[in-house]
């Protein structure tokens, strides 16, 4: 029992960065933009958060800084893809390369290290809810977590509500499906897409920030390790519905957590096989769900407003 409880707790922790990134990308894709560069943005968020937390001893400031810096890169992405109508796949790929190269470089410059960690930062404290945390199985998962996990849990229903029950959400759903109809209804395709992209980038930044401040307590190069791509898969897996993002992220978080546990238990299997578990699940999920049609019609198609 206790084992299951702590496994669930770990699963939710591992799911949290995925939730942030995937919620942001869900909005982005609903608006018609495909950002393959989530991985790069998460790395940028991770390094920013680590650096600020390291020098100013403030985790909160670090997370906020990560959101702002990633948001600025999102603005750049929007300028390239919405205003200049550059190919989104290419810009997204470039963002990944920039994210990996730049964070590695800046990390070595600032901390004067070669690749390894430059030292730990404070841990985001665990907030325990008395009594409730002792509920068997789900207690530790839901009531013994840090602030970012709680916020991620709140984020999915809120994101779902905004998307399906407000005029902003209606506009977002429309613009990714039929941008010209949205424009003739009197909305600005450009503004909606800029907004969605900056929001998505900020969320990816926070998702990335989670890793050094709440998971590893330090920064290592390429520490996002494919989570950005898993977030992309989660968006598809959830059929572009933010509420489903929670369940899909939990599934992937669970495979991460399980993989760690199995390594400890010492099955006589090379640990590399266990490490690929989440990625294999991603592949399987994509194969099972191929041909699903909930995808926004205008995804990754630039829109030209007439002159």
């Amino acid at each position: 029992m206790e084992l299951v409880g702590s496994l669930l707790q770990a699963a939710l922790r591992m799911a949290t960065p995925l939730i942030y990134a995937a919620i942001g990308e869900t909005y982005n894709e609903r608006a018609g933009l495909l950002n393959l560069g989530i991985e790069g943005l998460m790395l940028i968020g991770a390094l920013t958060a680590y650096t600020i937390a390291f020098f100013y001893q403030s985790i909160l400031l670090g997370v906020l800084g990560a959101a702002v810096v990633a948001g600025l890169f999102g603005l750049l992405f929007a300028f390239a893809t919405v205003t200049l109508k550059a190919n989104q796949v290419i810009i997204g790929t470039a963002l990944n390369l920039i994210g990996l190269g730049m964070t590695s470089y800046v990390h070595r410059m600032l901390f004067n290290t070669l690749a390894g960690s430059a030292g730990n930062v404070q841990v985001l404290p665990t907030l325990r809810v008395p009594v409730l945390k002792d509920i068997p199985i789900i207690g530790p998962a839901l009531f013994e977590q840090n602030l970012l996990v709680y916020l991620a849990l709140l984020l999915t229903p809120i994101a779902g509500f905004v998307l399906y029950k407000t005029s902003l959400g209606l506009a977002l759903r429309a613009v990714g499906e039929h941008p010209k109809a949205t424009a003739t209804a009197g909305l600005s395709v450009t503004r909606l897409r800029y907004g969605a992209m900056v929001f998505a980038a900020m969320m990816a930044g926070i998702g990335g920030a989670y890793l050094p401040v709440a998971h590893a307590n330090t920064f290592v190069e390429n520490m996002v390790a494919g989570r950005g791509f898993i977030a992309l898969a989660i968006v598809v897996f959830s059929r572009w519905n933010p509420v489903n993002v929670l369940w899909a992220s939990l599934l992937f978080g669970f495979t991460f957590a399980l993989q760690f546990r199995l390594q400890i238990v010492n099955l006589r299997v090379a640990y590399q096989f266990l490490q690929i578990l989440p990625y294999v699940v991603t592949l399987l999920a994509m194969v099972v769900l191929r041909g699903q049609t909930a995808q926004p019609k205008a995804l990754a198609v630039p829109y030209t407003e007439q002159v």
Partner: protein, 513 residues
């Protein structure tokens, strides 16, 4: 009607000297006209005359190069649809601007509420919103279901949603761009009823069309455009279709097709119980008919009722799931498109630019597209340009293709000339069966006339002709026998001389014979 001759009335909309160029093409050249309150003002012109362009300018989608727009006498500048909507201008586009994955009510309120920080940004009261939409629709006796998904609606229903969408935004000027192109005759009459209610309430309607009868039926005043210029303005009660046609085309035209009575021979094409399934959806359900030599069989029906699949199946491009197709007794099912072509079936495809021609090939290359691999166009495995050019030059003359040279790529030619190439290439085979799908879509009156004459000439030569068209007038004018398709079935059949529009219209709407 008294309003119409009154110069004292302040026009609802006045456009003055609007110019708009796309590159070197002058789509609008000093266009001016006035629309009075409470009138249906028609814009008449052939395809490419510039009707949509000038209305897109009024709706803020395009920016004019020159000219002014006045609304209720005041000069205005419209930079976006948002501003046009705020000024009370609504537009129903030729291709509907509805989001298929949203409900009717969602489409109608899209963009009408503030996006942030306002009580009305919350859309939790779905029921209230739907009631509001419904009450507006009912006021103008427009039947819509606010909670239905737009993707589940027929085109006629979608058009009603577009109109309610404009009314919801409080329009005073409603622009309809070729609204009847997708409707059955009955739906067209219903639309006219709605428009009459709207103008009685003081709205102004701009009705764009190239169909003369509709303008005579619904218009108060008509402005005629040709090649981007205004070439005339008439009160509908003081003009007639002949005069309008000549203004529109710029020369004398024959509005009726003259044809000799048909003398059909033996059956050339016999289709029995044809079924087609596409990803589990039955697009054709038990279709049986025959076409005899020397007759034109017309298939009428609203777009998307299986006509496309039928044509492709006959040409061998999709495989039926059941049924037989026989050409002069020979089974065609399972044969490749090339084999079917060689057996004497020629096909004028619906989309000449995608299926009929290779747009960046020359006129000559397109003429030999289906036989460049046989003599005399190829010798010892090499193309023989001299033969190809002389053959192409002959067809160019014979079919009156206006091109500076047979070496020009066909994307430089007008739609009419492109279609003449397709037609010439197919007809030169002396086909036993000619399938013509939408043969005059998007063509001007002159080219349409020419294509019609050619089809009739083929009939008189003894070819069997299957004409598939969503233009009911075309089907009725050319055919000897008319079949009507609805949801993949043939729901009605009549001899052309005994046909009447009402009956065919009912069949097109799915009412069984």
């Amino acid at each position: 009607m008294t309003l119409l001759n009154n110069d004292q009335v302040v026009p609802r909309l006045e456009v003055r000297n609007i110019c708009k160029s796309f590159g070197s093409l002058k789509a609008n050249d000093h266009i001016s006209f006035r629309v009075l309150p409470g009138e249906v003002h028609c814009l008449l012109g052939e395809n490419g005359a510039g009707k949509t362009t000038v209305m897109n300018i009024v709706y803020g989608l395009y920016r004019a190069d020159e000219g002014q727009i006045f609304l209720d006498g005041r000069p205005i500048v419209i930079r976006s649809p948002h501003e046009a909507i705020a000024l009370g201008i609504g537009m129903v586009h030729q291709h509907f601007m509805l989001v298929p994955t949203l409900t009717v009510a969602e489409n109608i309120i899209l963009g009408t509420r503030p996006l942030f920080f306002s009580r009305s940004s919350l859309l939790t009261n779905t029921w209230e919103i739907e009631q509001e939409v419904k009450s507006i629709a009912e006021r103008y006796s427009l039947k819509i279901n606010p909670s239905a998904l737009v993707s589940s609606l027929s085109v006629g229903e979608q058009q009603r949603v577009e109109i309610v969408k404009a009314l919801y935004r409080g329009v005073r000027l409603l622009i309809l761009d070729e609204p009847t192109a997708v409707l059955t005759p009955q739906e067209t009459l219903e639309l006219f009823d709605t428009l009459r209610i709207l103008v009685r309430e003081g709205l102004s309607v701009i009705f764009i069309s190239h169909k003369l009868n509709e303008i005579m039926a619904i218009g108060d005043r008509v402005t005629i455009l040709r090649d981007g210029k205004v070439v005339g303005e008439k009160l509908v009660c003081q003009t007639n279709t002949q005069e309008l046609a000549e203004l529109m085309v710029g020369r004398e035209v024959k509005l009726t097709v003259e044809k000799k009575p048909a003398s059909p021979g033996e059956e050339v094409l016999v289709v029995k119980d044809l079924n087609i399934e596409d990803h589990g959806v039955k697009t054709l359900r038990g279709v049986s008919f025959s076409v005899r030599s020397g007759e034109i069989v017309g298939i009428a029906g609203v777009d998307g009722n299986g006509q496309r699949e039928l044509a492709l199946a006959l040409a061998g491009m999709i495989k039926p799931s059941a049924g037989t197709i026989k050409l002069c007794g020979m089974d065609l099912i399972g044969k490749s498109p090339a084999q079917i072509f060689r057996a004497g079936v020629c096909h004028i495809p619906e989309d000449r630019q995608k299926m009929g021609l290779v747009m960046d090939f020359s006129v000559a290359e397109n003429f030999v597209l289906k036989k460049f691999s046989s003599r005399p166009f190829v010798r010892h495995g090499l193309l023989h340009p001299k033969e190809i050019f002389s053959y192409a030059s002959r067809l160019t003359k014979e079919f009156d293709v206006r091109t500076p040279s047979v070496k020009k790529t066909v994307d430089k030619l007008s739609g009419g000339n492109q279609q003449k190439i397709v037609l010439g290439r197919e007809i030169d085979q002396k086909p036993k069966l000619l399938i013509a799908m939408q043969p005059t879509r998007g063509l001007d009156v002159g080219a349409t006339e020419y294509i019609h004459q050619q089809l009739l000439a083929q009939r008189d030569r003894g070819a069997a002709i299957l004409l598939i068209s969503t233009e009911l007038e075309e089907v009725m004018a050319l055919s000897d026998r008319i079949l009507v398709m609805y949801e993949g079935q043939i729901v009605g059949e009549t001899l052309a001389e005994r046909s009447n529009v009402e009956q065919i219209g009912l069949w097109m709407a799915g009412v069984r014979a």
